[in-house]
């Protein structure tokens, strides 16, 4: 790493994060074995049984935000990592790191929400740990969950399966979670319409299990937004992706705030959406299936796979083209 201290940007999901993982994690742990795939979860084989294993930490601030809280988020985050690996989520571990002085009532609210989310997702919390740190050593509370899921038959997901002409689908509006958090954290002008999209995506995956062979790859666009996720998918691949500007689904409230701050919604995190690349002949059926479900009501085809190695492009409404870049690190609002 060229930086001699860790910056916020190293956790932002953008270029800095990628560089840090490539140089410090992959070199140590990813040379061989499942981590080499750098997927959202690891596919493991154990005495004949196949598993998917994933983990995620939750440090969201504020802990309660429009559309969710750190409790439900810590279930959805790991459930979604398992789901986009084509697995049915089964078990979760739950590790709580709590700041001294944290209100018990808030903790109960968070745990209630976590429990409801686990029931909704059909996962059991089967092991856990609680640590309390001194005042000032963490920001209220942090949660880590790890999850084990059982692979659905038929999915063979890998970016290397992308072919020119494949369809790129998204299950709903992009960037709502990041904008809702930003608005809540920074006390920006609020609108009731601006809600986090935080939700589980496992039902979206299970609903299209019969089309599994047509699905090339799935990923949930969290930190770094759809831009970072799509760039990760095509990195080092012989193909690229072209998005069509007019087909990108954005919520009006999120778009208004993003425009005001000079932030590109393609760079902003979602917590309940899925990006999926599939053979073109399966696209309509997947979209129709998703649109019948509440969590997929806003699903759209946003582009296609093209013969342009490793790049994500966007075709504008005027017919112009531009590169969709990976965000740097932190999202910094522009001055004017």
């Amino acid at each position: 790493m060229t930086d001699d201290v860790i910056k916020l940007g190293h956790g932002g999901g953008g270029l800095l994060s990628r560089q840090w993982i490539a140089e410090e994690i992959s070199t140590r742990f990813g040379q061989s074995g499942p981590l080499r795939e750098m997927d959202d979860g690891a596919r493991l084989a154990l005495s004949g049984a196949n598993l998917v294993f994933a983990t995620d930490s939750f440090v969201v601030s504020p802990l309660f935000f429009p559309g969710g809280d750190i409790g439900s988020l810590s279930v959805h985050g790991t459930v979604n990592d398992l789901a986009v690996c084509g697995a049915v989520p089964r078990w979760l571990s739950l590790a709580l790191i709590i700041e001294e002085g944290f209100a018990t009532a808030s903790l109960r609210r968070i745990l209630d929400s976590l429990q409801a989310a686990a029931v909704d997702c059909g996962v059991q919390v089967v092991t856990g740990d609680t640590k309390v740190v001194r005042k000032g050593q963490c920001d209220g509370m942090y949660i880590n969950t790890a999850g084990i899921g059982e692979p659905l038959p038929g999915f063979a997901l890998s970016p290397s399966r992308l072919q020119s002409g494949d369809a790129v689908l998204v299950s709903g509006t992009l960037g709502d979670h990041g904008m809702a958090i930003l608005a809540a954290r920074e006390s920006l002008p609020k609108s009731d319409a601006l809600q986090s999209d935080a939700a589980p995506v496992h039902r979206l995956v299970q609903a299209i299990a019969h089309l599994a062979p047509h699905v090339r790859f799935m990923r949930d666009p969290t930190r770094g937004g759809a831009a970072a996720t799509l760039n990760e998918i095509v990195a080092d691949q012989p193909v690229g992706i072209e998005l069509v500007q007019g087909q990108l689904p954005f919520h009006r409230a999120a778009l208004s705030l993003a425009e005001m701050l000079g932030i590109d919604l393609l760079h902003v995190a979602s917590e309940g959406r899925m990006l999926l690349v599939c053979a073109p002949e399966a696209a309509d059926e997947i979209l129709a299936t998703w649109r019948r479900m509440p969590e997929g009501a806003g699903a759209a085809c946003i582009g296609e796979v093209i013969n342009d190695p490793g790049r994500v492009l966007l075709r504008t409404d005027f017919g112009g083209r531009r590169v969709v870049d990976v965000p740097m690190g932190e999202l910094l609002p522009r001055i004017c």
């Binding site: 860790i6 916020l8 005027f318 001055i335």
Partner: protein, 371 residues
């Protein structure tokens, strides 16, 4: 009216692109190529974001001007802000100042090393920070052109009104018209028309550009930041260049009035006075900056903390100055994309999303992308 979509309609855009192509053909017949400078960083950003450069005929070229306030902020100013932070002050700043390189560090680097640097979404946020930390000095970084000057000066007025003893402003204000004069006075620079800034013009008024049209015969079109605004501005500038009739056109009349925002001008005049200013890449331009008048000097962090700002020493290989003057395209700089990237910017044009190098790096050049 739905403002986000109204000025991004594809049909209207394609119509303008066709009209611009006709002017391009006329220029081609005459063997001419014309250079339009978009002055403002938000124009540069929008041009890249909507792929506009690739839609223009070869005879109409866009140059990115010096209108990104972050880009033209001198390294010495960043050094001074970091020095204040190291002395224990809380630095409150607009977000995109964070990554601007100083001589050794950026504010983001300084924060990772323990400096207390906070991103504000509006200048008034600094008052809340100062109220929350009465035992510490808080310094707001007041940079920017006429657009941002007004809210920062409003902050100064508020500091005075509310008697906030521990809040001051480190200013590096810059004025757009003197920079345009300096560019046109540089014999190495060729600019055939200006796309004048949108929000700066909302403050200073469209008539502020009349002397430029009169003195240099260069058409000026005040245009907004939406893609249709920019295409319309290009179309109007090209039309004037083809006809040989340079004029001042205000095509952003939904926001910009001929006289500008008179209340904001009065506020600026009450608090500020002109001064020479150092522009990163362009050097010192006489009377191109503004500073707090003596009566308000106690709100000036440079005075309060007796700061001596020394101009930064830019990397000699960095050609940001030539990019800002429109002499070269970003990709022509030897550092572009190699030693200088948005992740590790050497020069200021790579720092802000509005910077012309950053915009070219992020969104690709027209040549790279093709039609």
């Amino acid at each position: 009216m739905q403002y986000i979509t109204a000025f991004r309609q594809g049909d209207a855009g394609r119509h303008l692109v066709q009209q611009i192509a006709r002017w391009g053909a006329q220029l081609a017949d005459a063997g001419r190529t014309v250079f339009l400078m978009e002055v403002c960083g938000s124009h540069t950003m929008a041009i890249s974001r909507y792929g506009i450069r690739g839609l223009l005929p070869r005879q109409i070229r866009l140059l990115s001007g010096p209108g990104c306030p972050v880009c033209v902020t001198d390294a010495g100013y960043i050094d001074a802000a970091i020095q204040l932070a190291e002395q224990g002050a809380i630095i409150a700043t607009f977000g995109d100042m964070m990554r601007v390189p100083g001589t050794d560090f950026s504010l983001a680097d300084a924060r990772s090393r323990g400096a207390d640097v906070r991103v504000c979404y509006a200048p008034y946020d600094a008052i809340a920070i100062a109220r929350d930390h009465p035992e510490r000095e808080v310094v707001f970084l007041g940079i920017g052109f006429e657009t941002t000057m007004a809210p920062v000066v409003a902050l100064v007025r508020e500091i005075e009104r509310q008697s906030v003893p521990n809040l001051s402003v480190l200013t590096a204000f810059k004025l757009v018209p003197p920079a345009l004069h300096a560019l046109l006075g540089d014999p190495e620079v060729r600019i055939d028309a200006f796309l004048c800034p949108a929000h700066v013009s909302a403050i200073i008024g469209a008539l502020a550009y009349r002397p430029i049209v009169a003195q240099y015969g260069v058409p000026c079109v005040v245009c907004g930041f939406e893609p249709l605004d920019i295409l319309l501005g290009i179309e109007q500038a090209a039309a004037m260049l083809c006809a040989g009739t340079p004029e001042l056109v205000n095509s952003y009349s939904r926001v910009v009035r001929p006289q500008g925002n008179v209340a904001a001008q009065a506020l600026l005049d009450a608090f500020l006075e002109p001064t020479d200013a150092t522009w990163r890449g362009l050097g010192t331009i006489a009377q191109s900056g503004m500073r707090l008048r003596n009566a308000f000097a106690h709100f000036d962090a440079a005075v309060r903390f007796d700061l001596r700002e020394t101009p930064g020493t830019p990397d000699p290989a960095c050609r940001c100055g030539d990019v800002l003057k429109g002499k070269i395209a970003p990709a022509d700089c030897p550092l572009f994309g190699g030693a200088c990237t948005p992740l590790h910017p050497v020069g200021p044009c790579m720092v802000s999303a509005e910077g012309s190098c950053a915009a070219h790096h992020r969104y690709g050049t027209a040549e790279e992308l093709g039609p």
